[in-house]
Symmetry: C2
Subunit: 357 residues, 2 copies
Amino acid sequence: MTGNRIVAARSAMRERGVDALVVSVGSDLPYLTGYRAMPLERITALVVPESGDALLFVPELEAPRVSTSVEVVPWSETDDPFDRIADALPAAGTIAVGDQMWASFLIAIQDRLPGARFVDAEPLMATLRIIKDANEIAALRDAGHAADTVADQLQGIRFSGRTEQDISRIVTDLLLASGHDSVSFAIVASGPNGASPHHEATGRIIEQGDAIVVDFGGRIRGYGSDTTRMYVVGEPPDGFVAAYRVLEAAQDAAVQSVRPGVTAASIDAAARTIIENAGYGAAFMHRTGHGIGLDAHEQPYIVAGNEMAIETGMAFSIEPGIYLPGRWGMRIEDIVAVTTDGVERLNRSSRSLRVVE
Amino acid sequence: MTGNRIVAARSAMRERGVDALVVSVGSDLPYLTGYRAMPLERITALVVPESGDALLFVPELEAPRVSTSVEVVPWSETDDPFDRIADALPAAGTIAVGDQMWASFLIAIQDRLPGARFVDAEPLMATLRIIKDANEIAALRDAGHAADTVADQLQGIRFSGRTEQDISRIVTDLLLASGHDSVSFAIVASGPNGASPHHEATGRIIEQGDAIVVDFGGRIRGYGSDTTRMYVVGEPPDGFVAAYRVLEAAQDAAVQSVRPGVTAASIDAAARTIIENAGYGAAFMHRTGHGIGLDAHEQPYIVAGNEMAIETGMAFSIEPGIYLPGRWGMRIEDIVAVTTDGVERLNRSSRSLRVVE
């Protein structure tokens, strides 16, 4: 499978006038080789020249754990890996660099190849990665269903009297118990903290009347889950229920608008218009969604101004929110996959406001 | 505290002829500002010009979670953050870039500043970060002691009949229970898998006679633990005990050689000579150690060829190993801190081979 992906990458390189591709930490490497590099200071790098063999440079001590069909070139602790990688790259021409490669690695390669031009490989790799095949969709579906079981199990948990960190730890345990191979994040944002979309769980003790944003995800077979559900301890705060009805309608409208041929911007607009019309426009300060796959965030981005046409096989989040600083926040998030004629929700757990103790 | 660090960074910039510093994901940012950025596609970047105010550019949706004394500049979902960051940087001159910044971010900034020269900020930042102050040493000491309790608790666990993944999960739980704020890694490499130094735990079932490398770490107040202890189920394999005596002697010799003024290379040689003289030289294919702090691996690197003089306040691992492919592997690892006249071990749990069930 990964061999075909290198063939497809070469084809995309030719279309874009790219003479060589070099990828390191991040998800391009596992996509192309099946091997994920550790994000450490010893460089692992796959070089794909326009013609000739692809070479995977790996630190000698990590070579025993590499299983791939690509030729592996170990480098030892007293080698200069950048000299060796530069030797495998063209001295002139255009070199596309994996988006998450460390800047220090790129500078070391640039210093050795002053005649080359370096471009971000993300647009090139996105042409491949943005369309998921059946195996990838199946992994995303399994991850989504596992996340749904976590959302449901949380409803049986007591929130009041516990800290955000306590609940975050419970979410982490449930993600693993539900079949995820690893946990990516477990945001628990209670009361006024809910107004911070990427809030990190604190020692704040959850109390009666708090609304709680719980946004969590992990990986199954390399592919991510990412869902947000809302919980409230007892009676919701003033105005919360009315705003929640708006948010539910906005999230549903955006999901229903998904089908091949519509633009990413139009899906964002489907949610945003409803929230704006209800008077909460300024309180929805982030995009509606992001693609998901081997990376937690990847193309397509569901954002104003992105006129990209949606295609069958894309997968992304739909996650509008309403945030009132100092009071509360709310978000509803599902992952969806684009089918030949519409959309499949990969999260099916109830999106209703869930009352907990 | 972080304000003084920016002053120190400016001083290091002037010494090196650097006109501006820009750091993003990675540990330079929390070192300078107290804020750690999420490793995602929306850039967070601190710009420190040679004179004038430092500015921290953050995605608008993450602004609520930023607490720092530096001026925060939020950018919105439809802004171009790279235009704004480039505007804050000099159009010509030398710009030092944080080592772990994404390559895509660097390329976007380079495209906007064709007259500037970009260098890796790692050597500059290392001059600051390599010497730990008393608070940093205290955090490393707390992390080390917490890791020691895990090493000891593991001796009461049954290994045989369980998978590497089972044991890795137990190590993860124990790391959190011991007071770590987060878990960084939990390597469990049993039997022949032990010969792969960075082995990822698999479904292999541990059996009688297996030697098991357990290498784990987490973070306390941002600073890491990292220790390796060896376990064996029942009788060790042939030749293992004799090799283990060599390894214990090598690790201890390297630790005892640490004091201000010696070179990093000499510490590596102290361990390596003993292992080579016993005939295992080719089986010790990695460096003896790495610095540790906000990053799991940082300067100083304890490796042949590194003639850097060791100074009071440095902290690093001493972790020689012996690896026989297809048979077994072994490693002993402690973190040490350099004192005014010698060395403090931050791991004090027994380094003996630990027999388990």
